[in-house]
Each structure stands twice: as C-alpha cells, then as structure tokens.
Symmetry: C2
C-alpha cells in the first residue's frame, strides 16, 4: 500500500441549488478528496489550513475515516476559507457568489518527515505556487504526482501552473479546461499537447458524459455512472480525484491497466457525491457500497 498525501482546502461552503440551500457546511477540495480516497482504507494524510472558527467535529470526521489530520494547521484567530456558490437548473452552470480566502491567503504547507516520503501526492485545486511548495518538499524516489486544477489558474497564474505541470505525472481536468490549456480544438490533440509539457497521463472529465484517460500511446474511455437524481454537483470533481488516487494507493503498480480502473473508481465516487447535498453522501460511502456500484456499472457497460 502506498502512502498518500493530499493537499487541498478544508473549508466552509454554502451552496444554493434550485431546490435547497445548505447554510454553512463542510466543504473544500481537500475534504472531498480525502473522504473519497478514504474508502480504500489507505495510509492518507491531508495538509491544509483552517481558522479557529472551524468546527472540531469536522476534523474528527476526517480522523474517523483514518485520515492523518496532524498537518491541518489551525489558526486560532483566523477564519476558515469560505466559498458560496449557486447552481441553476442546468447543473453544468454555477455562479460563485462569494469567495473569502481568509487563512488560505497565508497557507504555506510544511510537510513532516513522514509526508515527504509519500508515494502518491494529490495536488488539489489551489494556487500553483502552493502546489509547487509541496512538491519541493517531497523526496520519495518513486512517486506519482496527481494534479487537479481549473480554468481560474489558467486565467490568473498560467506561468506558475505550467511550472507545476512540468513536474506532475497525471493531470485531471475537465474537457473545456483541456481545450483552454492546450489551445487545441479537440480532446485528442489537446491531451497529446499537454503531455509534451511533462505529464505521462491525462484524465479528461466530461461530467455526466464520463471520462477519458490518455497516455502517449494508450487510450481509455468510459461513460459516467448514471445518476438519476442529482442533488448537488459540488465536490464531484474532487471525489473523482479522490477515488482515482485512493484506488491507485492500494495498487502494487501504477500501470495503464490500474489507471483505467482508477478512472472508473473516480466516476463511481463522483456519482455518489452528487446524490447528496455537500459532503453528506460521500461521508456515508464505504468500500462495499462503492464496490457494489462498480459491479453494477460493469453490468451497464459490458456487451
């Protein structure tokens, strides 16, 4: 089993959908990734930062999932990162109502000796400079670095993002972001272009339409697990990354075969995520439920 390190926000979210309003609830990329990966019963730690206003019960929740939270720094007189977003009838569109960086503005992740030896590093969606800071400290020889990022950083910190991209093994982005990042017109040329900058693999997420995995010579495509009643898409991408990384952490080798299965576990965990409001559904997920859906998905896709 591989030691996995997740860096990402542990935060407060406030979510509005056409049918519900959440109030202030547990959120953050690091939270979703961590919860999602934890179902594989792996050796995982999260590095993050929260304010004194962060409810201890949420930290206890992460701990109860077997996650090492000793590197989630608490700034007693600081406020936790806060994001408020609103979804419309078309789940693919969301408006950010408010973003308060708060303690995240001064986040300077410091890895302990144990974390420096991590074999799987998941760089959750954060400023590329923060992601680089983490990579600078990792000194394990055989590591697999997985990068999650988004168009915001392409628009606002492209050079720094390229510096990170050059150092990672796998990028996970969505279809529009792949087009934007590469400047190409289709996902195949986009993936190949991005791989010339360093990564050996790219996962392109297409939301309800599934995901694709590219290496320089291999290709895999899968539909999404069909969700009949989406409640809240928040965190779906992070849960995808968590399922992907968590599955890999329990694999002997990181080869194309295992990467394909990891993509399917990503789509499965994401499908659970969107069935509940906020983290409610992914909190309740366990390995057995995920495995059952994995089998069901196989029956939906085999011919």
């Amino acid at each position: 089993m591989k030691k996995i390190l997740v860096v990402g926000t542990v935060a407060y979210d406030e979510i509005e959908t056409p049918s519900e309003s959440s109030g202030k609830i547990l959120g953050g990329a690091g939270t979703y990734i961590g919860l999602s990966a934890s179902i594989f019963n792996i050796n995982q730690s999260i590095i993050s930062i929260v304010g004194g206003d962060f409810n201890q019960k949420y930290l206890n929740l992460l701990k109860s999932k077997g996650i090492d939270i000793s590197s989630i720094e608490i700034i007693p007189d600081g406020k936790t990162f806060y994001w408020k977003g609103k979804y419309h009838k078309d789940w693919n569109k969301r408006d950010t109502i408010s973003t308060e960086l708060n303690v995240l503005a001064d986040f300077n992740p410091k890895l302990n000796d144990d974390q420096k030896q991590s074999e799987i590093i998941v760089l959750g969606n954060l400023h590329p400079l923060v992601q680089s800071t983490v990579l600078n400290q990792v000194n394990s020889e055989n590591k697999c670095v997985i990068l999650d990022t988004m168009n915001f950083w392409m628009d606002n910190a492209l050079e720094e993002l390229h510096d990170v991209i050059a150092r990672v093994d796998v990028i996970i982005i969505n279809d529009e972001e792949a087009i934007q990042l590469s400047g190409r017109e289709n996902l195949f040329t986009a993936a190949q272009e991005i791989m010339t900058h360093g990564p050996s693999h790219i996962v392109i997420k297409k939301g309800e339409h599934g995901a694709m995995l590219f290496s320089k010579t291999e290709f895999f495509t899968t539909p999404a697990f069909p969700v009949k009643d989406v409640k809240d898409p928040t965190g779906a991408g992070d849960c995808f990354a968590g399922g992907f990384a968590g599955f890999l952490a329990q694999c002997e080798d990181i080869n194309f075969q295992n990467l394909k299965t990891a993509v399917v576990h990503g789509t499965i965990n994401a499908s659970f995520c969107v069935e509940g409001f906020g983290t409610s559904s992914i909190q309740k997920l366990n390995k057995e439920k995920a495995q059952d859906r994995f089998k069901e998905f196989k029956s939906f896709t085999r011919y």
Copy 2:
C-alpha cells in the same frame, strides 16, 4: 438471418462545412441506413422514391451492396428529394438552407409480398403517416420494428408520430428529442415515459458522448468511438440505425445482450460515417474494417 426492410429517403444532399462544399451528392436517410446495414451481408431491401434526375450510378451502388432496390420507385418526370445544409465550427449545430420535397410529396410506399414478410423493419426519418402506411402492410408474425424520427415531426405531426410509436419495438432518438418527446427532465425518466406508449426498448444517442439503451428493467451505456477528425456529421444518425439494425438482422434472437452489441455496432458505423464527406466513408466500409474497429473499441473501453 432476418429479412430487413428499410423505408427512407434516397435523395440528393448538398452539404457545406467550414472547410468543404459538396455540390449535389448522394444522400437520404434510406441511403445511409442501407449502406450501413449492408456491411453485415444481410437480406435487405429499401423502399423509397426518386425522380428521373436521380443518377443511375447511385442505384447501382446500392445494388452492388446486395440491397434489393426493386422497390425504389423512379418517377421519370419528377425531381428527387433535395436537402441542403450547412455546418458550423461546432458540429452540433446545423442550418437547413433548403428542403425540396419534390417526388417525396407523393410517396406512398407499397410493399411487395416478400417485403410484407420482413422480420426487421427500419422506419427511417419520414412523415409518421408514411411510416404507418408501411407498418399497415407488414404481416410477418415475429417482427421487430425500429423507428428513427426527429424533433421536426414532434413539432409538426405529434399525434401521427404517437400513433407510430404505439406500434414499434425500438425507438432511436437523440437526447434532446427524448426530453422533448417525453416532457421529462432527465434521460432515465424520459426513456421510461416513452416506453409506456408502446416500445419495449429505447436507444438514446448522445452524439460524440455515446449512446444509452433502455428496456423497462435493463440499462446499457457506451461512450462513442472517438473520432479525431470529423469531416461531416451528415448521416451519422442513420448509419447508427443501419449498423444497429444490420447487426440485429444476423442475430438468432433479439434479446438485450444482442441489442447492446447492436448499439455498439451503431456507434462504430456512425464513427466511420463522420470521417468522410457525405456517404464517401460509409460506401467504403466493409465488415472486416467494422470488426477491427469494434475490437479496437473494446480495448478502449475494457478495464
């Protein structure tokens, strides 16, 4: 092997894409369905109508594919159905520049005794009343009727369309049309709603995102075969239907297992279609090439 009857337009198309302009070329739903199905070396006939202006070489082409064209009526002093369309950079949008019904306005299909015994009937995209006229004449006991239709008939002949739907076994429509036809908001409830009106199976096409197959109790989903360089989407839906029906024609039983494989053959044949302008690519397709891509697709989707 099952006897298959295709009813649909055999026509002239004129297509503009951002990079090419076709001039007047062979087109029509019946043509695309017939060519696509023909790769399975089946017992197929097409029922259609053309004008005296229709080039004999196109009829010879269909004949050379083993298609019985004796029921393609030729009206010597009539003009062939003509459609002109224009695609933009986004292949999903197309403008109809011109539609001239010509001889199609008086199309009153008459089945010969042999055709009345067809076991697979493909109702290509046509006025629902014409589709009904065909069904009225079929008297085989065990038949499978496959309906292809589009939003135009939902907008303009909904009642007549519902009359046909009540009599068919399989509907093939795209995602937007399924939503429109059912009045539901997602594809699952849409499919179930539509099946209450008669069909036992629904295939929902999602273009580059693949297809789904529903029965009342079973479900199948597949991505599309990835096409790196789309030349012209015209006829892709018809080639899907042709590959689907052609594969079924050579099956002993029409069960869910075979319907799933038929959907994959639909997506494979459609992928060939869009790689060439007009019918150029599907004309050149043969069983071996389709089988090779079918195997390649399996390797892209298995984990």
